[in-house]
Structure formats: structure tokens, C-alpha cells
Amino acid sequence: MGHLTTGKLCQMTETPLTRAANATPPSVARKIKGLSDRAIAWIFVGPTIFLLLAINIFPLIWTINLSFTNFRANRPNREVEYVGLRNYERILTDTDIWLNMQATAHFLFWTIVLQVLIGFTLAYLINKKFKGNDLWTTIIVLPMMLSPAVVGNFWKFLYQPQIGLFNYIVAFFTGKDPSSFEMLGQVNLAPWSIVIVDTWMWTPFVMLICLAGLRSIPDYIYEAAEIDRASKWRQFWTITVPMVMPFLMLAVLFRGIENFKMFDLVVQLTGGGPGSTTELTSINLKREAFEKWRTGYASAYAIILFVTVFGLASIYVKALNKVKER
């Protein structure tokens, strides 16, 4: 089945629509001068939609199709059988996958809690507009601009039990022996090691969005509250928090989606280990798809994950809109 669809896709790349859009220089533009706005709109939007269809939607449909088969990508010549819902059944009843889901939930919950708390606090402090806040904000933002895989790889070095800087600093402040604990090697510490790095990296993101929220609050609201003799504490809970809330929720949405997909940082840092304590669903999925080559099974897995993210995100967006309306 796969061969046929890709063949068709190949021909589709050369639709008149895309060709016209790719050749907008003057000579062509003069010829199509008489085009209506409507036609231009489609020529402008067409290539984008086409690219997304070809590289996002078409693969998604293909994944759905594969998820009902026992196809293995490392044995393309083997006959492919349709197995119905068996892949889905096996995934949903597999206890190991629930462990991966739990690891993902732990990671999601704690990264979001920490990032919201620290991010909001930082934004609140930066909004005091002290001298040079602009420069320090930029410095705080730096980690999130970097390559997660490279960062994860380097944190592995910082987490080394004897020689790593992280262990040394912890030992310095707690008086423990720096080789007495292994952040990446111990079952009880490894889930926290990824939470720490993700928080280090992505707190600035939450901070920036909160800052945007804080800056959107007009001064006159505080002035009015001051005239009404509302205490600073009351102002904080009745003005600042509710007005930043939609922004904060937006930040949580973005972080939630991103961390549900989390792969690069953690795969470099722990590789899912020790055992499978930090094997987030994405890492597990990669293992099924590209190491065990159970393509059909992994496709069903991918669909389940996608539906989960999409479903959770949609419910969340509804809640977000309600908060915005208030």
C-alpha cells in the first residue's frame, strides 16, 4: 500500500498551484496581473497547506493505516497483514507502558509546578523594573535557546558522581560525600535529574510569558486600588494574579505539550535509564519503532499519544477560554 501512496504524492508536488507560487517574479506576475484577490489568496496559502499536508497530515494518515497492521520497517518484503485493533489492545493492556505513562506524568507535573512557581516569581521581580533588568532577563533566557540534546549531554557530565560539578556543589552545601549519590544512576534520583535540567532550561519561557502578562496590566487599576486603600497583599491576589492567569495558563499549555513530546533532552541525559525509570513515552516509542522495528505496534502507540495530547490540549484550551472571558 505504501508504494502506491508515495508515488501519488510525488506527482502531487508539481501542481500548477505550487508552480505558480514558486515563480512570482515580475515576468510571471505581469501575466497573472488579472488574478482576483481570491486566486492570489489561494496561491499564497496553497504551498504552506500543501507542505503541511505532505509532511504532517499524510504521514499521520499513513500512521493510522499502519497501526492496524503487523508491518515491520526492517522487513519491507514480508507480507503485511491487517490485524484490526490488536495493536491498540496490546498497548492499553501492557503494564510496562503504564509505567512509562507514570514516568511522563511525574516529569510533566513537577516540571510545570516548578517552572510556574519560579517563572512567575522571577517575572514578578523583574517587573519591579530595577536598573539593568533587560540585560539580566536576556541572560536568564539563554538556556532555553540552546540545543536540548547538547545541553542534556553536557548535564550528564555535571551529574557524574565523583567528578561532576553538580555533585560537588550539593556535597559542598550538605556535607555529603560527592560520590555517595548518582543522580543518573539511582532509581530514586534519576526522575528528579531530568526535572532539574528541564526546569533550568525552560523556566525562562514561563517567566517571559508571565512578564508579558504583568506588563499588560494597566497602571490605573493599581492606582484605583490604592485610592480604595487595598493592601499590597490584596492587590496582588485580586489584581495581579487574576490578570496574569490567562498568560500563565498559556505558558502551561505550551510547556505541557512540549514536555509530553519530550525526547531529545532526556534521551541524551539518561537514555531512559536506570532500568526504565526515566523512559518517557517518546523514548519508549522510539525504542519500539526504531530499535525493535515493530512499526505497526509503534504506529498504534503514536496514535494513542497524539490523541491523548490533542484531547488534553483541547479540554485545556476550553478552560483557558473560560478564564479569559472572566
Binding site: F44, P47, T48, I163, A302
Partner: protein
């Protein structure tokens, strides 16, 4: 202070806030500073206990990053004295430089794929954003949501069929394949961001141009494009940073010719395990451009980071 304002924080609270933020900034910088320091250490210094802050700087990590080395017999070493400073560094370990490593190739791949996909996504994204901003498109909101929702898919989920598709089309491990893929991932951000910029340009200018006899195309590239230049530039930086940092697709779909630096850097192996100074040197060279970019262009970046949520 000339005028008193109830919303202006007191000097003391400013001082307090400032010192806490600066403290956090300094702590957050420690790992990055450590990466850069480690790049200038010898392997022995890099793994010493307690961790060394003061050490004899050496370019060993950088030499190891760019070269491959082999061990040689004493006679060979005696007969061929080192000619250059980098040969000399390698000689400490009774080794000679056998040739260049693959790092520069991988780095170049990152540059080609990064700039290629950035150009394409900004080009297509500007067209689409203009259309969404100015024309009535049926189901525009649904289409925009569809464009954004493509970002929700876990990369690994899309990677399975793309892997199969690219194998069929001969696109696996090619620059073109990676450019198209990164463009598809980036275009959602590009369209959303650029739309928010173009929405901010008053339509009166184009309308005047249209009345003067310009065609829609001319109005678009002579009137709108110059005004959207800042927006286009900051969108481009975002697309570039994403493509530069991307790892999941790169590690699954490339293995040689088109492999970018992120999957390559962690695999730098020295004698007896990971060569941390060389890894650190690679990370420094790879991360530094992004850090400089961020600091230099900070004013334009904030809007992109927050998907257009931050507006000036």
C-alpha cells in the same frame, strides 16, 4: 524623583528584586560557564576531583574535536618531530594526527539545513501570513488552528511514516529531505508570528498603492514586505534556532551525509571513554552563535519565544 507614583516600586524593593534576579541569573549561568571552561581543560583536569576552576588552559579539546589521531611507535615519533603547535599537543600522548574529524562537515550540514529551511519557511510563511491577514479565506480560523495543531504531534510519531516515505523517495539522509522536514515543522510558527506582524501594518498603504495602479503582487512586495522586514527577520531567527537545535528527526533520519551537529557532538569519543574537553569544545562552538544572537537581538526575540503572546 520628581513625581510620586503609587505604582512605581520603592528603591528598596527594586534593590531586593534586582539582587534576587541577578543571583538566579548567575546560578543559571554556572552550567554554561562550566561547559566553556571544560573546553579549555586537559582530559585529566576535566575529570579531576575536586572540580578545578583554576587550571592551565590548553587547546587540546579543540584539537581533538577537529582531528582524528592514531598511536605511533617510538621510532616513528622520533623520526618525525612535530611541526605545528597542534601536532605538539597530540604528541604528549604518543599520537599523531591522522586527518580531520567529521565535526566541520556536521557543522556545515547544520548551517546548510538551518539556513535552507529558514529561507523556505519564511518565504512560504510570509505569503501565507499575508493571505490570512488580508484576504477573506473560507474557514480561515480552522486552517490557522490546523496549522498550529501540527506542532502538537510528537516528532517520533511523525518520524515513522516520514522515515518510510523518505526511503521510498530517496530523501533519507539528504539535505533536501531535512530542509523540507524542518520547513514543515517551522512553518506553523512562521505563519502565526508573521500574521501577527502583518496584522499590525495598516492596510491604508496598500490600498493607496492599489489605487495608484499597482497590482496586488506589486503592492505586496513593494509596500508590505519592506514594512514587515523586522517581523520577517525575527521570525527567521526563530526558525533558524529551531532548525539549528533540532535533534529527534536528525538522529532518526540522517546517519552520514546530512547529519547535523546535535546528534554528532555526543558521540565524540576519546581514548578510554568520552573525551569531555572535546565534547565541551564542540558544544561551545555550536552553542556560542545562538547565545550571541540572543543577546544581540534580544528586543526582537521575545515575541517569537512566546508565539506572539508578547507584543510591544
Amino acid at each position: 524623583m520628581s513625581s510620586f507614583s503609587v505604582t512605581e516600586p520603592s528603591t528598596r524593593s527594586k534593590w531586593f528584586a534586582g539582587s534576587l534576579v541577578i543571583l538566579y541569573a548567575l546560578i543559571t549561568m554556572v552550567p554554561l560557564a562550566w561547559i566553556m571552561l571544560t573546553g579549555f581543560k586537559s582530559p585529566a583536569d576535566a575529570i579531576s576531583y575536586p572540580p578545578k576552576v583554576i587550571f592551565d588552559p590548553t587547546l587540546e579539546g579543540y584539537v581533538n574535536l577537529f582531528t582524528t589521531r592514531t598511536r605511533q611507535t617510538d621510532e616513528f615519533l622520533a623520526a618525525n618531530p612535530p611541526e605545528t603547535w597542534y601536532e605538539e599537543i597530540v604528541r604528549q600522548y604518543d599520537m599523531v594526527i591522522a586527518g580531520p574529524s567529521k565535526f566541520s562537515e556536521r557543522f556545515l550540514n547544520s548551517v546548510i539545513i538551518g539556513f535552507g529551511s529558514t529561507f523556505l519557511s519564511v518565504f512560504l510563511g510570509t505569503l501565507a501570513a499575508y493571505a490570512f491577514s488580508r484576504f477573506k479565506i473560507p474557514l480561515a480560523d480552522d486552517l490557522l488552528f490546523f496549522i498550529l495543531s501540527t506542532r502538537m504531534m510528537p516528532p517520533i510519531a511523525v518520524a515513522i511514516p516520514i522515515f518510510l516515505m523518505y526511503r521510498q523517495l530517496g530523501l533519507s539522509d539528504t539535505h533536501l529531505g531535512m530542509i523540507l522536514l524542518y520547513t514543515a515543522v517551522n512553518i506553523s510558527l512562521a505563519v502565526w508570528l508573521l500574521k501577527s506582524f502583518i496584522d499590525g501594518i495598516p492596510t491604508e498603504y496598500e490600498e493607496a498603492a492599489l489605487i495608484d495602479g499597482y497590482t496586488r503582487f506589486q503592492a505586496f512586495y513593494k509596500v508590505v514586505l519592506p514594512q514587515a522586514a523586522t517581523g520577517i527577520a525575527s521570525t527567521a531567527i526563530f526558525c533558524l534556532i529551531f532548525a539549528w537545535n533540532e535533534y529527534a528527526f536528525a538522529v532518526l533520519l540522517t546517519s552520514g551525509t546530512a547529519q547535523t551537529a546535535p546528534p554528532f557532538i555526543p558521540t565524540i569519543i576519546g581514548v578510554g571513554g568520552l573525551d569531555w574537553p572535546a565534547v565541551a569544545a564542540g558544544a561551545t562552538i555550536f552553542l556560542l552563535p545562538v547565545m550571541i544572537f540572543t543577546v544581540a537581538l534580544r528586543k526582537h526575540l521575545l515575541r517569537g519565544i512566546t508565539f506572539g503572546a508578547v507584543r510591544k
